[in-house]
């Protein structure tokens, strides 16, 4: 399983601009598997991405918007993308500013199918 997950993440990191890809436990923000470029702090990324997604889950619930699926947080020097899979696992990506987010999102959806 670990080998399979790693292979899926490797595909994700081949998209231009992606600096790191991870599978993260939604509840506690712990890393399940990761493929990171040098300098990317995996544990911090996992914990913070899960936390932001958790906060958005509250927002979505309050807004009666239904179960959250995908989140894109854009910053001046990069972006964090989070996709919820069917099994309380998040696909987390960190990118630079020159990334085709639409393409990354498609790859994230494919990656999430591992947990379908």
């Amino acid at each position: 399983m670990t080998h399979q997950l790693q292979g899926v993440l490797d595909v994700l990191t081949r998209v231009r601009g992606v600096q790191g890809a991870m599978f993260v436990a939604r509840d506690d923000g712990l890393v399940i598997a990761e493929t990171l470029m040098e300098g990317v702090r995996g544990k911090a990324l996992a914990a913070l991405a899960a936390s932001v997604f958790g906060k958005f889950t509250w927002v979505s619930g309050t807004a009666k918007a239904g179960e959250p699926r995908f989140l894109h947080m854009q910053c001046t020097e990069g972006a964090v993308l989070v996709l919820a899979t069917n099994q309380d696992v998040l696909v987390v990506i960190v990118t630079d500013t020159n990334t085709n987010v639409g393409l990354v999102r498609l790859e994230m959806l494919r990656a999430g199918e591992v947990f379908a």
Partner: protein
Amino acid sequence: MDIQALAREFARDPDSLVFLRLGEGLRRKGDLESATAVALSGLERYPDLPAARDLYARLLLDASRPDEARHVWETVLQRDARHQGAHKGLGFLYYSRGDLDAALEHLETALAVDPTDQSVLQAFQLVRTTARTIEEDDEEPNIFAGLEGAEHGLLLVDDAGRVLAGRLGGNANTDEMAARVAALVREAERTARLLDLGKWEWLIAESASQNVHLTQPTNETCLVTMRDRSVPPGRLAFLAQKANDAARGWLEGQRP
């Protein structure tokens, strides 16, 4: 019967109730001094007669003594809670003071006593129209007016989680939403800082039934733009940018 005939009748029989018609006639003629003398004369004989007190209260109001008039009308209502003249007089008195709620309450009662009284009906409609106009003027202006979804899909909150403007549709609890959004913004800022991603700019998220866009018109505020899933994220971002410009302009206008 003209005033002179009424005056003769009153002189002939001072104990008759003709003083009510004479006093009112003199009042309408503008002879407040004579009208007041007649009213007081009648009150000496009939101190508890509501109609006599009502006449006297109207004369007090004409003489710019509204507090005394109010007091007299209130004593009338203590004896006859549905006295139309007293309710009509108090309605006018409160209207002239700007207390439209109290005015409407009294005029409504007066109208209930006699729905055919055109003078009460007209007074009631005037007060109600005035009250509605004031309510409309007092309504918070929609800072997103003219934007798509301005009525139900845009919410501006401050960094303390308080609503500044706008509203969300459906059953969303706007105040709770504002608090949750402020918490999310703080977490986004922390994430950007700790991951060396620069400054957080915006966030877009997809849920089962809605797409949500968050951005900051200023450092201290956050704008929420929500649309159903039929509005794709790219279009949502476009709408959010227009709303962001409107919010920023409004915020700049609020500065002292």
